[in-house]
């Protein structure tokens, strides 16, 4: 439990820092951090439950996408401000590095293994975003049907 809180805090910090580097508006920093922390906590829990990396990343990316959408409506800001910083903890940095390192020292077999991991994780995140986008479109359609004024 303490470990989970620690991981949440770390992801929160990482998201805020990446937000500062990308120069997102000040009043969105905290919200973006919360989304990043929450998504990472969710990923941490479901990966403990024995879900594979592909499905875990997919669910997390979907979650980020959906929460960012609601945050964007709530704060009246573009969605990119929330979903790009939140994603930083999910970047397969370790695997990408190991891939490059193994290619460099000539262990092509190991490198290919890591390459597959990188492609799978990146693909899962992209797929999660696509599903999130789909959700967004459906939700928008629903709102238009109900006759509420929509503006992004």
């Amino acid at each position: 439990m303490v470990k989970l809180l620690f991981e949440l805090l770390m992801a929160y910090l990482a998201t805020m820092c990446f937000g500062i580097i990308l120069n997102i508006p000040r009043r969105a920093l905290n919200m973006a951090g919360l989304i990043g922390g929450f998504a990472w906590g969710f990923y941490w829990i479901i990966s403990r439950l024995g879900v594979g990396i592909a499905f875990g990343n997919l669910m997390a990316a979907f979650l980020i996408s959906v929460i960012s959408m609601y945050a964007a409506y709530y704060k009246k800001m573009p969605m990119v401000i929330f979903n790009i910083p939140s994603l930083v903890s999910f970047v397969p940095g370790g695997q990408a590095y190991q891939m490059i390192r193994n290619f460099a020292i000539g262990h092509s077999q190991t490198a290919c293994g890591f390459l597959v991991q990188v492609v799978v994780i990146a693909g899962a995140i992209a797929m999660g975003f696509i599903l999130g986008e789909l959700y967004h479109q459906i939700w928008q359609y629903g709102r238009k049907k109900m006759g509420t004024h929509y503006e992004s």
């Binding site: 990482a14 500062i20 120069n23 800001m77 573009p78 990119v80 903890s89 940095g93 590095y97 992004s152």
Partner: protein, 251 residues
């Protein structure tokens, strides 16, 4: 008739400026097109046609002979500007602004939007490196080394990016410096694992915005911009990787 043409020209110019700011600062294409259409629609020009790619915008109004073009030469990332243009477009839709004030405000966004100070960004980059080092590797010993080297790497990147305006070159040099410093730190026993230090320190350079936008553009059906941005992200990643490989050969 002349007044009408002048108005159309103003509308087109405002649209072009808004579109250029959005693309230059890392917005996705759907939002760019949507914002430009809203501005022209709300200004009373309904028949505007636009063609938007990551390197240029073409816009024309039906029944007039000339089309206007804006080229986009540099792409940085400043999401604050994207948010501000969005806000402005909203205010214009609610008719709180006239077309001339809109153009003036857009110009102001383009030229002086406050950014976080360099030292704050440096601190953020350093902290990001240390934090992600812990998250990715579950090791704590190298966090201080990651903090320092990540900060230095980001400073190098920022410096060269401002000097040369060639993003891939500055990414290459920054990752080269990171690799060298990490190797030196391990030699001097300031850090333990070379791999972990490099993984953490490289993270502030990761091309997160192009990757995310590539996916969103592809999903949105922008078959020119999506792959273009994916190539941009790949080139960045390759530049970083090459820098690291150069160092690893000698360690």
């Amino acid at each position: 008739m002349v007044a009408d043409e002048q108005k159309q020209l103003n509308v087109i110019n405002a649209c072009l400026l808004a579109g250029r700011i959005l693309i230059e600062n890392g917005s996705e294409m759907t939002r760019v097109i949507d914002t430009m259409q809203r501005i022209s629609h709300n200004a009373g020009v309904d028949s505007a046609q636009m063609f938007v790619t990551v390197t240029g915008i073409v816009i024309s109004v039906n029944n007039t002979p000339n089309a206007q073009v804006a080229t986009i030469e540099r792409r940085t990332i400043d999401l604050d500007k994207v948010a501000r243009v969005n806000e402005l477009s909203r205010a214009f839709a609610e008719q709180k602004l006239s077309l001339t004030t809109l153009a003036k405000r857009l110009d102001r966004i383009d030229n002086d939007t406050p950014t976080f100070s360099f030292w704050l960004r440096l601190l953020a980059a350093a902290l990001l490196s240390a934090v992600l080092l812990i998250v990715f590797t579950n090791e704590y010993v190298d966090a201080p080394a990651g903090f320092v080297i990540g900060g230095v790497g980001y400073a190098v990147f920022d410096f060269f990016n401002r000097q040369f305006k060639v993003q891939f070159l500055s990414e290459f040099i920054a990752s080269l410096v990171i690799g060298l410093l990490a190797a030196i730190a391990v030699r001097l026993h300031l850090g333990q694992y070379l791999d972990n230090i490099i993984i953490g320190s490289v993270m502030p350079l990761v091309p997160g915005v192009p990757i995310t936008n590539a996916v969103r553009d592809l999903v949105g059906g922008n078959l020119i911009s999506g792959p273009a941005r994916a190539v941009e992200a790949l080139l960045s990643a390759a530049a970083i990787g090459t820098g690291i490989v150069c160092v690893l050969h000698f360690v």
